[in-house]
């Protein structure tokens, strides 16, 4: 979450609760609702690393609140994050290991493993379809995120099909 918070602070200085609200506003239901405690812990670490700094702002009748802003080093870290390509998703490692290792031990055969995995993926796809219906189409980040997840899932299913084809002589 470090870089997400840096990106929001690059837009404007903010205190912890404002950052939580900004995340919710930007991503809507697409983002796992951020925990305020986790945000404060992350801000503390960013401050310790010199990427952000805090100023105390006095409030009447309440304790001071800390408003955070980006430092030059924070700006550099953010630029580096934006400029580098992001790691692509990997093959479902755990299922792949099962597929290769389980038959060796005689615990299960590959056809059974693949069939079970396909049913699971199709169930997930159904959930994503329901989610599309339940999501406000105006929430573009959420819609794009769901569509991305569907495309990944379709690719996983196509790959399962390849594995299955490979089993037939």
């Amino acid at each position: 979450m470090r870089l997400h918070l840096l990106a929001l602070l690059a837009k404007e200085p903010a205190h912890g609760y404002e950052l939580k609200q900004a995340l919710e506003l930007t991503f809507g239901s697409a983002y796992p609702s951020p925990n305020i405690g986790q945000i404060y812990v992350t801000l503390g670490r960013l401050e310790k690393d010199g990427l952000i700094r805090a100023v105390d702002v006095e409030q009447s009748n309440r304790p001071n609140k800390k408003v955070y802003y980006l430092t030059a080093a924070g700006r550099e870290a953010l630029d580096a994050w934006v400029d580098e390509p992001t790691e692509g998703p990997r093959v479902r490692d755990e299922f792949f290991m099962k597929l290769i290792l389980a038959p060796l031990t005689g615990i299960a055969d590959r056809m059974t493993l693949i069939n079970r995995q396909r049913r699971h993926y199709l169930g997930l796809m159904r959930d994503l379809t329901d989610l599309t219906e339940a999501t406000d189409p105006a929430n573009r980040p959420a819609m794009l995120l769901i569509e991305g997840a569907m495309l990944h899932l379709q690719a996983d299913l196509d790959w399962l099909e390849r594995c299955q084809e490979d089993l037939t002589p």
Binding site: G28, L122, R126, A142, A149
Partner: protein, 249 residues
């Protein structure tokens, strides 16, 4: 035959003779589809899934085995007998819509009902109902070529449903559509299924297959899996995308 089954195949086989060399496409398929069921057939290309659905719809002949439609033995029928049965019992949707280019949308949808013996008034009423349900009322007088791919597929679906068929067969219905149009067709399939329509769909599209009650996997002309998909989240806890999709923080 068991009551309630709309389709039943028994040891169904299709062997193509290409250049003297027999090529088995379907190798002994036993499939039973109950009334109101939505079944998706998946499998790699060449696995026999299109051949299977074509045989069930009477568009291709079987080499051996039995096909029963709505309690009636179908594979032993003459070509004209099949044509009558198909007209009465089966609606078909294809990947490339196959609409009659020189007829309006309205006429495309009315044609099967008229061929099926409905009066002009009945055919018109059914057409108006279907186009209304599919959000196409305003496109009734358009030619198919004036419609988007998604609209054409909706018209094809309306045409397939014109005779209130016992069975709807669809071969890659979203295969030629972008994601938005695919979503419309998907929604329609779900809606008519909820109203009790029996559906068999051949598809590569996991969104369509995920919607089905049951998924049959074909490999090399044989069924290697037949079962229900497993829902992870319960319907009473819908949640947001964040609950289904894990963003790396």
């Amino acid at each position: 035959m068991q009551s309630g089954a709309v389709v039943r195949t028994v040891n169904l086989v299709k062997i193509y003779q290409t250049g003297g060399l027999p090529v088995p496409a379907v190798r002994g398929v036993d499939l039973e589809v109950a009334d109101g069921e939505f079944v998706a057939i998946m499998g790699p290309s060449g696995s026999g899934k299109s051949t299977l659905i074509h045989m069930i719809g009477g568009l291709d002949t079987r080499t051996s085995g039995e096909i029963w439609l709505d309690g009636q033995r179908a594979d032993t029928l003459s070509e004209s007998g099949w044509a009558v049965l198909r007209r009465e019992k089966v609606g078909f949707v294809f990947q490339f819509f196959n609409l009659v280019a020189t007829m309006t949308v309205a006429d495309n949808v009315e044609l099967p009902a008229l061929l099926g013996g409905a009066s002009a008034r009945q055919a018109r009423e059914r057409r108006e109902y279907l186009l209304g349900e599919l959000g196409l009322t305003e496109r009734a007088e358009a030619a198919p070529a004036q419609l988007s791919g998604g609209e054409q597929q909706r018209v094809a679906l309306a045409r397939a449903l014109a005779n209130q068929p016992r069975l709807l067969l669809a071969d890659e219905p979203t295969g030629n559509l972008d994601s938005r149009n695919g979503r419309d067709v998907l929604r329609l399939l779900r809606d008519i299924h909820e109203k009790g329509q029996t559906i068999i769909v051949v598809t590569h599209d996991a969104k369509v297959a995920g919607m089905a009650d049951r998924v049959v996997m074909l490999l090399d002309g044989q069924i290697v899996d037949d079962g229900r998909s497993v829902r992870r989240t319960s319907s009473k806890r819908p949640g947001g995308a964040g609950d289904v999709i894990e963003l790396r923080g």
